[in-house]
Amino acid sequence: MSGSGENMKSGRLDVRKTYKMLIGGAFVRSESGRALDVNAPGGKWLGHVCRASRKDFRNAVVAARKAASGWANTTPYLKGQILYRAAEMLEGRATTFREVLQSIGLSPVAAKTEVTQAIDLLVYYAGWTDKYLQVFGSVNPVSSPYFNFSVTEPMGVVAYVSGEKRPLLDLVTGIAPIVAGGNTVITLSTGRAAVPAMELGEVLATSDFPHGVINLLCGVREELVGQMATHMDVNALVTQGADAKESAASREACALNLKRFFPREANGKGDEDPYRILDTVEIKTTWHPVGG
């Protein structure tokens, strides 16, 4: 974002970076043309990020819906490989991410821990993609001539509101189980967390996720959470770090189309937890006649 002193001396122009959102595989600015200031904790101005509008969110839902059936039908094994590739890409850019996290106020140690944990988290959920069905699915004993079994199915399009406490990790801990379960996702990052989030877009865009499977927005929480909760084409809403008022309003709005609502504490507990995958999948039970 900021220019380097070295270039000033050599006369070379700075190549500055414009952080853009990821919608449907494309890096875009907000259609509204609006931007937000990002400041370091000391108040130092770091730069601008996009301020997503309701329409950006709607466009992201369209992209996510379009990608939903393809991603749901991708083999679990391939889903795992792609998630693992995201870990590889993040590993390769670990230094950049540490710098970005430090620029928004994390200590060097905290930044390093966060990047490492984010990578490990991607590997963790990559491993679960072809295993959770065996754990959560079942063959059910019934007292009639039926073969009765339950399997998981992705819910579809999931919206995720990320927290700011752990700017990178909060986002990855939301995305990984949602896409591991075969859903497509639209995330919202706010405040300083927008910077590593948009940086993560470049990692995800080179990880072989089909366009639209992961869509990253940044903006103002109060402006968009309501939209996420009411949108009829969103099947589940997961939030992190919501206050009681927001959660109550979201729960009520989610009832409109019976979307599932999972408010999570931003305390870092349960990052590595297969039940996170279970949150955004449905269990479908089939009665199959047997014998004559």
Partner: protein
């Protein structure tokens, strides 16, 4: 039935060169118009009343056609303020089923005929195709021009075919499909429009929906201008039907804007403007529901046919 060629004596093929850059520029400028709130709602309802709800698949069954007709009558359950669509457009063998399903409604039944979609059959077969569809009860016939004849310059044959099909139509309205995606240039689109109108078309229609590109805004604008010129010369109002690839509400509203700008409000009626589509109504319904409820809609809550 004669397949001999009687060359039209009154075919006036004055060249109307199309300013392609000008057309693109005007299309781009018209597309920037934004219609909001109450006007948008009215525009969408008007556009819905102009839809020719279409199913033209090899896999069409009586059941599917009946389902489509139900959709044509009841666009969305729970809303009484919506119009019915203008017509249902089907293959000739489905006309009778559509007529039965639409009995008692003002919805017209349109049938594609003349060896749709390619038109690569002898004239006698095309005329028989047309007569069959009319006898089955079609109110409107959507014919295709012979693009092969047109492209090799045999305009008289194209005109003659349209004239004879028009005669075979009897009281049924005739829409002439130019299949602009196969014509190549806007100049040819203009020429084909002129030939069709002079040969007795009640409507000119862009495409079959089987070829891409279909109803691009550029093509629609050229055809509207041809209609405008024809009206000024003859006083006869020819209808317009864009079809193919019109999938969202915004595109439909843009079409209305173009019609209003080029032809004026007199053409903003289902008797002079139609939109051929199958998926479009649901997108317009989603927009209408968004305006009513304030929340963005999903296709899960709209009938899928």
């Amino acid at each position: 039935m004669s397949s001999s060629l009687t060359v039209s004596t009154n075919l006036n093929l004055q060249a109307h060169p199309v300013d392609e850059v000008g057309i693109r520029e005007r299309v781009a400028r018209l597309a920037t118009r934004s219609i909001k709130k109450a006007s948008k709602v009215e525009g969408l309802k008007l556009a819905l009343s102009m839809v020719d709800l279409t199913t033209l698949e090899g896999a069409d069954t009586p059941g599917k056609v009946r389902q489509l007709c139900t959709k044509a009558i009841h666009l969305h359950s729970g809303r009484k303020d919506l119009p019915m669509v203008a017509a249902v457009c089907v293959y000739p063998t489905m006309v009778r089923i559509a007529r039965e399903a639409l009995q008692g409604t003002p919805i017209q039944v349109a049938a594609v005929a003349t060896a749709f979609p390619s038109g690569m059959n002898p004239l006698a077969v095309k005329l028989e195709d047309t007569r069959y569809a009319v006898a089955e009860g079609a109110h409107e016939i959507d014919m295709v021009i012979s693009r092969g004849d047109f492209l090799r310059g045999d305009y008289a044959r194209v005109a003659n075919e349209i004239e004879q099909v028009k005669e075979a139509c009897g009281k049924a309205h005739l829409k002439v499909i130019l299949e602009t995606g196969e014509l190549g240039t806007l100049d040819r689109v203009r020429l084909a429009s002129d030939i069709a109108m002079q040969s007795g078309a009640d409507f000119i229609k862009t495409s079959t929906g089987k070829i891409q590109p279909a109803a691009t805004p550029e093509v629609v604008l050229v055809m509207l201008q041809a209609i405008s010129d024809f009206y000024r010369k003859t006083g006869k109002r020819i209808g317009m039907k864009p079809a193919g690839g019109i999938a969202n509400a915004k595109a439909a509203l843009n079409l209305l804007i173009m019609v209003r700008e080029v032809l004026g409000p007199a053409w903003l009626t289902p008797s002079l403007f139609r939109i051929g589509a199958s998926k479009l109504p649901n997108d317009m319904l989603m927009q209408l529901e968004k305006e009513r409820t304030g929340v963005y809609q999903g296709l899960d809550y709209f009938s899928n046919d």
